[in-house]
Amino acid sequence: MLTWLTHSVNGLAYGSLLFLVASGLTITFGLMRTVNLAHGAFYLLGGYLAYDLTTNGTDYWLALLAGVLAAATGGMVVERAFLHRLAGSELPQIVLTLGVAYIIGDQILANYGGDPVAPPTPPGLEGPVTIGDWVFPKFRLVMIGVAIALAAVVGALLKYTPTGAKVRAAVDDEEIARAVGIRVPLVFLLVFGCGTGLAAFAGVWGGAFTSLAPDSGFEVLLLALIVVVVGGLGSIGGALLAAFLVGLVDQYGKVWFPEWALFTLYASVAALLAVRPRGLFGKAVFR
């Protein structure tokens, strides 16, 4: 019985990691409709920077903050310099962000080498918790809470704050939004920065979970894309639910049919998309 509890909770924990990665993507991709294949690269950027700083003696939380800020800045630079002039044309966005991802990944390889590294587990969260006979890693348990909290905060910000209203207005109808005095380019810039910043946060936390290497950016990207699309573009709650589902499907797929691990996940996603093109909670059709 305990085994099943462990499997299920662990599936949720892995799903939470996927949600952390996907949360930034739900904003930039789901909401702003900017396809950012460099999302995984910003994940790496945050993780590697935090790793670098902590190994040189910087306080953990300070390193985390530095990683997030650096990736947010980097994201805003990319948005301001390149991406904003490709608004609405997804194909050039793909090519451009793929290029950015190549460059960041290759530069990380050049600077840090290809051996895997891992930012430390957040202080105080190392080791397992034991409840009766049941043993489970503390860090993973906390991760589930963080994912739910993050979803709640981001959802509430978008829904209930004036800033959130501005963002939604800018996304829904850029021209009207401009006409009523919303500084749309600025809004987009900040939103994109938030997205890449969240990617970096996921990199620091996820890196402690799975470790980082210069090419793990793409592995992460594919899973995060799946979560966002299955959840439905723009739906934070949908992404959270999708992340949990993917986490559980992945977990039980590995337990029951390990031989088909790569196939089960992608085939079930493909089947879902073929039947429900907009995912679980998608609303608007993509252009």
Partner: protein
Amino acid sequence: MQCDMSKMRVAAVAASALLLLAACGGKDPSDKTGGPQDDGKAAGAKGTVTVGLLNPATGPFAALGTDVNAGFEAYLKSKGGVLSGYGVKVAKADEGTDAAQGTTKARQLVEQDKAQVVVGLVNSAIAYAVAPYLEQSNVPLLITVAGADGLTRKENGNTFRLSYTSSQDSMPAGPYTCKDLGHKKAAVLALDYSFGWEAAGGFARTYEAAGCTVVQEIYAPLGTQDWGPYVNQVKKDADVVYVVAPGQDGVRLLKAYRDFGLKLPIVAHGSTVDETILPTEGATAEGVVSSLHYTPQIDSPQNKALLDASDGKGNQYLEDGWAAGMTLEAALAQIDSDPTPEKIRAALAKVKIDAPRGPLSFDTYGQAVYPVYIRKVENKDGKRVNAIVTTVPGVGQFGPYDPATYLAFPGYEKLKGTWAK
């Protein structure tokens, strides 16, 4: 509007230029070592020989490739660029991540740079594609990492391999775990791809031959992000877990294993805890017993020379590159003049050297025979090291079996899943 557009263009160009600058500003390993255009130069008394160095500089195996190159170049440098009287010209190329690039670069090395011998290859799929081409072009190949068992199965071919076949280094771990450690029931936890099946199979075969039982086999896909589902399946009645998970997978596996508080002792293929990932694994690797043909802890003048030349850093890939230099030197010593690929091939087959790992020679299939070390991860002055527990001398690719018996066994990919009783 027109003006605005052009201003935007200028901004974009400036930004791209900045990026380019940033890109070029990075620490670029090729700055020092150069591409194929750079000659390793140095004139030798007997002439020159061109060595094609084909290792990955990009992709998941870039770190391994960089280390092999560094080892080879360090040895060359220690000899002033001259091996047995021949000035060595090094042509270096990036093996890349797929066979298309690997073969393209192999051809470039042979057809344009006129390499007389090719050293390198990490990815077995690429090695499988490159080896037939080199066989056909009559250029000998000295493999330094790629492990697929099938690469050295042809007698008197022109493929040689210094590194392990996937099962070679794990075979000595079977009897050691069963008899010396006394663990009678083992669960196998390995990566689900050729290397995993072959390494795990080598262990399972010799472990069962020694009279013990594999009770469970679990295989996880390459690049498994979360090992939680797998480590939690390990049977509680096993005495030991045998693990095959090189690189990042090893880091993740050990972390999950410790996080979930599992207590069974771990015996592993040496690559699961080699020095490239040991610092990242840290305390999670404590106490892991493993078998491999190298550890920086070997106390010999040959190993000391390697460690001195590489700032004290040592790992199996550096040693593979270094040993490749020594092997080539020993081969060239047998050739008086005009080192044609044919002469190099014939000479390689007769090479016997004292490498940092110990005595090394080739069997008739071109596979290296060398000692394998049973090691244990210990904390030495705050740093984790693979301390030597015992040494098994003269291990070949067929382990304790004779070639005919061994070659009659079905392939490990067919035996996977059949070891557990």
